[in-house]
């Protein structure tokens, strides 16, 4: 048994080393600048750096819009599947899993092609205005659409787990026979019971949108992740400092979910 314990602590120790050293080293890198000694300059400079506030705000706005849209689409659909359209269930499941098979880079290659149709074929139609509008650099709605698709697998799993724990049919029937209309039954009987799952889905989507780089960069927009990379060339310390901070924020968010809904199981998308 003693040998087994030694082995176990060895494994855990090595894992601890591997996972903690890069984090510790990042912090050291930001405060211990060669030739300047100990300085917190990188952290104090963040807010005054060009583009930080605007790119962060853009990311947060995109995240809010994505969460709102994906929940608005998914919650009624998932509830309806439980209530009266079980035959559609495999369809929705497949639709929500398909984005996993398409890597983000391939997805954005497709989006880019569609967006090019605008100037090439549609310049005389009203659709062209739509194409221009969804690519407005101040709020690129096309990113929201892409993020909704990319969030579908996670949101599906989170909501499915939440709905499995509740007897939706009984809840709705009870609410209906107490005289509630459909919207009321949904809003006051079903949704409160899904609070954990809704928060879970929202947090996962938030983390996805805040960290997303591939689609935004290739479509030429500059939300947070793209901004960090752009600033890293000229200000290495600053970009690592922002990474450390954004990591902390994301981790706190994900730990909150872990506390809410048990273990989170999602695949990463580097």
């Amino acid at each position: 048994m003693a040998r087994l314990n030694l082995w176990r602590w060895g494994v855990l120790g090595l894992a601890g080393l591997y996972f903690l050293v890069p984090l510790a080293a990042s912090v050291v890198f930001t405060v211990d600048v060669p030739g300047r000694g100990l300085t917190f300059d990188a952290y104090t400079r963040i807010f005054s750096t060009e583009g930080f506030v605007s790119s962060l705000l853009l990311s947060l706005e995109l995240a809010a819009a994505t969460i709102a849209l994906v929940l608005l689409l998914m919650v009624p659909a998932m509830v309806a599947l439980r209530l009266g359209a079980p035959r559609l269930r495999p369809v929705v499941e497949i639709v929500c899993s398909l984005p996993l098979v398409v890597p983000p880079i391939a997805f954005v290659a497709g989006i880019g092609t569609v967006l090019k149709w605008g100037p090439e074929h549609l310049s005389r139609t009203p659709l062209f205005q739509t194409f221009v509008a969804i690519q407005n650099p101040h709020f690129p709605f096309v990113l929201v659409l892409a993020y909704v698709v990319m969030a579908l697998p996670f949101v599906y799993r989170a909501l499915d787990a939440g709905l499995r724990a509740v007897d939706v049919r009984t809840l709705v029937e009870a609410a209906r026979s107490s005289g509630a209309g459909w919207p009321q039954a949904l809003a006051q009987a079903v949704l409160p019971n899904l609070r954990g799952a809704l928060l879970n889905a929202s947090f996962l989507t938030l983390a996805l949108v805040l960290g997303e780089f591939t689609v935004a960069q290739l479509l030429g927009f500059q939300p947070f992740a793209v901004w960090i990379v752009n600033v890293s060339g000229s200000q290495a310390q600053l970009s690592v400092a922002v990474s450390v901070l954004s990591l902390l924020v994301t981790w706190v968010l994900l730990l909150v979910i872990a506390g809410f809904g048990g273990r989170t199981r999602t695949t990463s998308r580097g």
Binding site: A85, V101, I105, G110, V244
Partner: protein, 297 residues
């Protein structure tokens, strides 16, 4: 059928029908949006991958030319580079993830277990730009460890194949721990006891009992890790630029017109190659997952 029976039945039947149509109505917006935001780009990719524009006449025709081009020269190198990188890092991730998960599962400390599993959930989601910068700050050219340990003189280079493997393991190992833990928890204590009572050593128990039961989950985990590493773009883009040939980097280059103009369709063909590989990964993963679920139910 009597009149009364009909009257009794119609009310619920109507309600069910109404509910059915309501179900359709609630699902339709979701399907319409995915058709627009996902189906349209997918079709555009497929269409573009197969269409070739004649530079002289401007006429477009369909052929497999782009696909052939995507499997030749630098593109083939990149595709193979991605496959090699993903296979190596997935194998190492599985190799290191298994003992870590085993150490955690057999531990008597519940707090340790919960801490490691929660941390794994967080780390498995940790990819992309911040991960790249954390490693650049640690082991990059001016990284803390590189400077203090003088690693450059010893031939260390983060912006290389093995550098990328080291970075990818940072999210692949936790992903493996999450994937394999339920299976390890499913190994019954009685199986080990029975093996011991029959005089089996630890090695024999692992070889003849535990590993065969774990094999589908292990393979499934490997395939999942492979897919995850294969699709990764942000980490590599923020870290190495294009010093390591990767298919994601090639696609990005071709799309942004960094190389030759008119390579967009080859980029789409490369994307199609990627989707096929990812689809293959899922086709292997799902049955394996189902099989391990049957064993460990």
């Amino acid at each position: 059928m009597t009149a009364t029976a009909v009257r009794v039945d119609t009310a619920p039947a109507a309600a069910v029908r109404r509910r059915r149509s309501l179900g359709w109505l609630a699902v339709v917006p979701l399907l319409v949006l995915t058709a627009l935001a996902f189906g349209l780009p997918a079709l555009a990719m497929l269409n573009g991958a197969f269409s070739v524009k004649d530079p002289a006449t401007g006429a477009t025709s369909y052929s497999a030319e782009n696909l052939t081009a995507s499997l030749q020269g630098a593109y083939l190198t990149a595709l193979l580079g991605s496959v090699k990188l993903s296979a190596v890092s997935a194998a190492l991730g599985a190799l290191f993830g298994l003992p870590l998960a085993q150490a955690v599962v057999t531990s008597r400390f519940r707090a340790l277990r919960e801490a490691v599993l929660t941390a794994s959930g967080v780390l498995a989601n940790f990819g992309g730009v911040p991960l790249a910068f954390a490693f650049v700050a640690t082991l990059g050219n001016a990284g803390v460890l590189t400077r203090h340990l003088g690693l450059t003189d010893k031939g260390w280079d983060l912006y290389s194949f093995w550098g990328l493997v080291l970075v990818y393991l940072y999210f692949l190992i936790p992903l493996m721990v999450l994937t394999i833990t339920p299976a390890l928890e499913g190994l019954r204590v009685q199986w080990r006891e029975a093996a011991q009572n029959n005089g089996a050593t630890t090695v024999q128990y692992w070889r003849h009992v535990a590993l065969p039961v774990l094999l589908p989950t292990l393979l499934g985990g490997f395939v999942l890790l492979f897919g995850s590493a294969f699709a990764a773009y942000a980490t590599a883009a923020a870290m190495v630029g294009s010093s390591v040939p990767l298919v994601t980097l090639q696609i990005a280059d071709a799309l942004s017109g960094n190389v030759l103009v008119g390579q967009e369709n080859v980029a789409l063909a490369l994307s199609l190659d990627m989707v096929l590989v990812a689809g293959l990964v899922m086709a292997v993963y799902l049955p394996l997952q189902r099989r391990s679920a049957r064993w460990l139910a």
